[in-house]
């Protein structure tokens, strides 16, 4: 017996109507993990980096990569998008409205299949009428573009995936 897409949909519906926040189902070597948006995130976060946390006097000077919680799984904010095998995400460097093209009606900066270099512009993020160009930051081929034109993207949200050279 194996789960069909219809089964999963039914399970989702059951969870939706229940008072539970998560469901782990394991059967016939298949595992389904369902979580309500954001549920259980704090508890699921790795209990690591406690000792790595800098003392507060040095905290404000700590680089972003030292943020202990940045390693925590996505929680209540945007849902993570699964990367196509062998690809890396180009993420939004700030929150704003994402545009794939320089102007409405013009062709997008990049399409799936396009080759990019680190300084290739892949889109624009608008913050209160201020246009910020976003660059690929790596060399390779664009394999997917999950971010939608004209929609809000959050800091760290995936804009597109690149298979690096």
């Amino acid at each position: 017996m194996s789960l069909t897409a219809k089964d999963v949909a039914q399970i989702l519906e059951l969870l939706e109507q229940s008072s539970f926040d998560s469901l782990d189902l394991e059967m016939d070597g298949m595992r389904v993990q369902l979580r309500r948006r954001g549920a259980g995130a704090a508890g699921d976060a790795p209990a690591a980096s406690l000792s790595a946390a800098p003392r507060a006097s040095a905290a404000s000077a700590a680089p972003p990569s030292a943020a202990p919680a940045s390693a925590a799984p996505a929680a209540a904010t945007f849902a993570p998008v699964e990367a196509p095998p062998g690809s890396k995400a180009v993420t939004a460097p700030l929150l704003g409205v994402f545009y794939r093209a320089p102007k409405p009606g013009e062709p997008p900066f990049v399409e799936v299949g396009a080759r990019v270099a680190p300084d290739t512009v892949i889109g624009i993020i608008e913050v209160m009428k201020l246009m910020n160009t976003v660059r690929a930051g790596m060399s390779g081929q664009v394999v997917a573009i999950p971010a939608r034109n004209g929609e809000l993207v959050e800091f760290g949200e995936t804009l597109l995936f690149v298979r690096e050279d």
């Binding site: 209990a47 507060a56 202990p68 940045s70 209540a76 929150l95 913050v127 209160m128 809000l152």
Partner: protein, 448 residues
């Protein structure tokens, strides 16, 4: 104009506090979070959370345009700034005004008026509110003349300072020229404003503040006073309402002075007028106004039964004040303790980390405002406030015994906290007697 959805431009316990009231009122909530707060309780309580930037506040909670953009894109018609961060930055209020998003707080002009300590002093004088003897000085000669009139010891204060920042004490008038030079250059570096003013130093003072609410059209009422004299390096630790040992006359005079001051500004929203109460003379002086909700607002809520965040929302939506002064009834006594992630055995060094267990007390008259639960992470980037334990009782002794029991039942593991330290302070004879001055905790520290 009714508010339908609020962006919370803050974090921690106050974010959770604001969301609770919004939910009770059926108002939608969008929580702005930094990357370090994505898994936080407010992020999960809100209808939606938006990641606005990396952990450092300068790139997230202090980004005016990002926050306003987030509000617009998420369909929010209002922004609640909480306390700290951008809550008292006039450019933020102005940007909201320009973008057509309601700033839940005073106008940009009012924030500017109280942010400039000299302007605030002048407004207080104009409203017939006593200020500490002193004033602005533009030259050394002027300073000398004024200093001789008010006499040493005195304080040199930065116009752009506040909350204990940018102050210098002068014990002998001979030291004035050097101290003045230093104070001006430090103020210039710290606040981008080298202007300073002089004030008489009050040796034994209590910090007593008055909660006000204004409708922005000249109607102002007060919700009584709070005593916040238990401070460590100007950081309040224990607050209570009413203030112990005040005569009815002094209490009434304080509250009326706060109302006069706020009326003069046509103040809009919730605000706090802070006074210095001279223990030796019983005179009080205007210190400054905080144009936001205060950390310690729950003690006022517990004695008045009012929801200050709900009142902020009502005022921001342009409604008339939903109550009159005579409707404000005060019952009993409330005391609040701030639980911080800090190490009292190590000079109160902040102690960030993962909370492994969190057991908050419950019981008659106990209220907990917190965002901390087991598994929560206390990032090293922000203040160390974990939560507030507030006890309400029939009188001070009742509130105090409830608070002691509550602290004894509080267990936070994974980080260092000041819970045991607070319990010891609550047992101190001087504190129990009531009415300590702002030097109490420093004296307590040296005898402990």
């Amino acid at each position: 104009m009714a508010i339908h959805r609020v962006l919370i431009a803050n974090r921690g316990e106050i974010a959770a506090r604001v969301i609770r009231t919004c939910q009770r009122l059926g108002i939608g909530t969008v929580q702005a979070v930094s990357a370090a707060d994505r898994g936080s309780l407010p992020a999960r309580m809100a209808d939606r959370a938006l990641c606005i930037g990396p952990a450092q506040s300068a790139e997230s909670y202090l980004r005016i345009d990002t926050l306003v953009q987030a509000a617009l894109s998420a369909g929010c018609d209002a922004i609640h700034p909480g306390y700290g961060f951008l809550s008292e930055r006039a450019p933020f209020a102005r940007r909201c005004e320009e973008a057509g998003v309601t700033f839940i707080g005073p106008t940009a002009a009012q924030i500017e008026a109280v942010g400039d300590k000299l302007r605030a002093r002048a407004a207080a004088e104009a409203a017939n509110v006593p200020v500490v003897p002193g004033g602005a000085v533009h030259s050394l000669d002027e300073a000398r003349a004024l200093a001789e009139r008010i006499d040493a010891p005195l304080l040199i204060k930065a116009v752009g300072g506040g909350g204990g920042r940018g102050m210098k004490r002068v014990d002998h008038l001979n030291d004035l020229p050097i101290a003045l030079d230093m104070a001006a250059s430090e103020a210039g570096a710290a606040f981008g404003d080298a202007r300073v003013y002089l004030e008489r130093y009050v040796a034994r003072g209590r910090h007593v503040e008055v909660q006000v609410l204004g409708d922005g059209r000249g109607q102002v009422l007060h919700l009584g006073e709070r005593d916040c004299s238990v401070q460590r390096r100007y950081q309040k630790l224990i607050e209570e309402s009413p203030a112990p040992g005040l005569s009815d006359d002094t209490r009434a005079a304080l509250c009326e002075a706060a109302v006069r001051f706020s009326q003069r500004l046509d103040y809009r929203g919730a605000g706090t007028v802070e006074f210095l109460l001279d223990v030796d003379t019983n005179d009080f002086y205007f210190l400054e106004m905080n144009a936001r909700i205060q950390v310690e607002h729950p003690v006022t809520e517990q004695v008045t039964g009012l929801d200050l965040v709900a009142l902020q929302l009502a005022i921001a939506s342009g409604e008339a004040l939903p109550l009159r002064q005579r409707d404000v009834q005060r019952k009993g006594w409330a005391i609040e303790c701030r639980i911080n992630a800090e190490d009292p055995d190590n000079d109160f060094m902040p102690s960030p980390g993962r909370i492994t267990a969190a057991q908050w007390p419950t019981g008659e008259g106990i209220r907990i405002d917190t965002h901390i639960e087991a598994g929560a992470f206390v990032p090293p980037y922000y203040d160390s406030l974990l939560g507030k334990v507030i006890a309400h009782g029939a009188d001070r002794a009742d509130a105090l015994s409830r608070l002691r029991a509550a602290l004894a039942a509080t267990r936070i593991d994974g980080v260092r906290t000041n819970v045991a330290y607070l319990a010891r302070v609550l047992a101190d004879a001087e504190f129990c007697a009531g009415g300590v001055d702002t030097g109490f905790l420093a004296r307590y520290g040296s005898k402990a």
